[in-house]
Each structure stands twice: as structure tokens, then as C-alpha cells.
Subunit: 197 residues, 2 copies
């Protein structure tokens, strides 16, 4: 069910504002965190912005490796999403103990281009090369990235478009309202252009 | 039903990734456009980023005035949202004709701090001062702003939190899937922290 997505459609995957999981790895260390704040900034080349707090372990690994991944979770992975957004991976690393993937049994696989960790059970996956923008990172914790691979679960994203239906409800994306409370999109509707007066 | 929102809660209004309407005005000219790409970047002080294409009339007015507004539309204002995202206000302005508000009968009111246009019938409203970041604007069309006023419709946002329920369905926010197709959030659910292994 996991299929490549054309890079020109990659930004559609986060166009509607879902919470995402940011994956990272560097020299044998790896981590995953939840991020409610991300957006596309360009369709072609596909570029995104994601806010990663400078105090996080993820930020350290992203800076060191110059890359990150985005996995888009769904209702079926709600608790894993909340969990990796609630605990720091740095504590695990300092203890020399298991990382978040191991500690919470979060299955993952390697991205096809960069080999970075993507989270299984999600509904879409991006690998990104960090664009070097030290000022935006420092002033706004905003990390810009260029998408180099994109994949999605064809049960809920096909033909370059999300399709949220009653029969795939467990695959609907999560949208963070605050405090661990998430909404998910229900049906969709087509807008119409109003007649000019 | 429109009430002020504490500035420390302002970023909650766009935390879940809704499509927004960007309002602008400068020296008697004004405009409004839809933007699917926005996100918070900081809770305190409340700061946001929104992608505004450099070819748009909105961008010209935002740059000239150093400010913009964000109105958060809902299902009841779906067609107005799609309309102001589909036509350019520059054509109207060059013709000396009515602007988008007049042409499409889009009611609006002045923001309490900056006096900029906010769109009536939406469910939340922010006024923002543009932060001077010419490089991010040029390279990524990303405009950073500091929120200076926030208001929301208490039927759907109260106590610093969105509440999407069956009985306020027309007030649910819009999330752009592409091509004028919008999803809206249905119910919400609380995430739980998984037990460590």
C-alpha cells in the first residue's frame, strides 16, 4: 500500500496542516519527535518548513546530519504520536539506554534516498535535506528543508490527493488542538467561486 | 460571540493547520487572499509564519504597510475562501474598480489594534505586525509576523481551545487538500502516553 509520490505532489501531503513526526539520525544515534508546526513553502522544488525547538535532541541530530524525515501519523498511531511528543530522546541517549523507537516499540524503516528513519503505521513519509538557514533556525526555530523522497499509503492518498472517507477512518491525519487533543478531518467538500457583484 | 483571546493562546488558533485568509491594507487600498500555508513559530511572544507569494497584490500591501491580518474561515464561509484564493485583487485595483471585498460582497470589520480588515463570518481573527526578514521573504515567500490582537468565536473556541462538535459543524475550520477541495475536522480525541518497554 506504500507507494512513491511524485515530488511535485509532495507538498500536498502536509498542505492541510497535519501534525507530523520528525525523524533524525546521526552517527548511530537516532530520534523521533512530534511537531505540530510545519508547512510547505514551495511546490517545485518541493520545500517545507518545520519548527524544531533548539533545545530538542532532534534539533541537535538534524543540525549534525543536515537532514530529517517527516512521517505523517494517523488515528491508528495517535498514542505513539502523543508519546514521542511528550518525552525527550536526549535522556535515553545520555543514559546509554534504548532510544525512543525501542523504548516505546515504535516500528520504523529506512528512507529510500537518505536511509533515515521513517515511522511505520503512518500514512505518508518524506525525506528532506536541511537547507542551511542559520538565522531562521536561531531566531524562529524554523528549519527549511528540500524534499528528496515522498511516499504515501494509497488507501488514503492517491492521484496526488488525500481522500478521507468513512471506510479509511483509522488512516485520517491528526491535527493538534493543544494539550494532546487531536482532531482529524472528516469528509471534504469542493469550494465554488462566487459570482462577482 | 466574538471575544478577545489571550495573546499567549493566540497560536492555538492556527496550531491545527487551517487554511487562513490574509487581509491587508495600505493608503486606501486593501485586499484579502486565502493562504493554505501558515504555522505558529512561537507561543510567547506569539509569532506566526505565512507563505505569501511575491507576485501577489497582498504581498505588495503587506510589505508597504508592515502588517497583515489572519482571519480563520469555516464551513459557512467556504465559497468566499475559495473565491478570494482564486482571483487576484490587483486586477481590480488596476481597473480602479471595486476591490475583492466589494466585488464578492465579503463583509469585514476593522481590527482593534491596527485597524486592518478582518473577515466577518470567520471563527477567529489575528492582527500581526510584519517582522522584517527580507531574506526569508525573498527566498521562501515566508513572512514572519508578531500577533498583536487575537479574537475568536466563543461558540467554537473557548478557554484557549477549539471545540469541534456536531452542534457547531458550520463553524469548523477548513483544511485545504488541493484544487479547492477542503476537509474539516470532526471530533477530537485525547492522546495517551504509551508505557515504556
Amino acid at each position: 500500500m506504500k507507494q512513491p509520490v511524485e515530488l511535485s505532489h509532495a507538498c500536498r501531503l502536509i498542505n492541510h496542516g497535519p501534525t507530523v513526526l520528525v525523524g533524525s539520525a546521526h552517527q548511530g544515534r537516532r530520534n523521533v519527535m512530534a511537531a505540530a508546526w510545519s508547512m510547505p513553502v514551495e511546490f517545485v522544488p518541493p520545500r517545507v518548513a518545520v519548527v524544531i525547538d533548539k533545545r530538542t535532541y532532534t534539533r541537535e541530530l538534524v543540525r549534525a546530519s543536515g537532514s530529517f524525515t517527516i512521517s505523517i501519523p494517523c488515528r491508528a498511531t495517535l498514542d505513539a504520536t502523543y508519546t514521542v511528543g511528550s518525552v525527550s530522546g536526549r535522556d535515553d541517549a545520555q543514559d546509554g539506554g534504548p532510544d525512543k523507537f525501542e523504548r516505546y516499540g515504535i516500528e520504523h524503516f529506512d528512507g529510500p534516498v537518505l536511509g533515515l528513519p521513517l515511522v511505520a503505521g503512518c500514512v505518508a513519509w518524506l525525506e528532506c535535506r536541511l537547507i542551511d538557514e542559520p538565522h531562521a533556525e536561531e531566531a524562529y526555530d524554523t528549519c527549511f528543508g528540500e524534499v528528496v523522497s515522498a511516499q504515501a499509503d494509497t488507501r488514503v492518498f492517491a492521484g496526488g490527493r488525500w481522500s478521507f472517507r468513512d471506510d479509511n477512518a483509522e488512516l485520517h491525519t491528526l491535527h493538534h488542538l493543544g494539550g494532546g487533543n487531536f482532531a482529524w478531518p472528516a469528509k471534504s467538500v469542493q469550494g465554488k467561486v462566487l459570482p462577482a457583484r
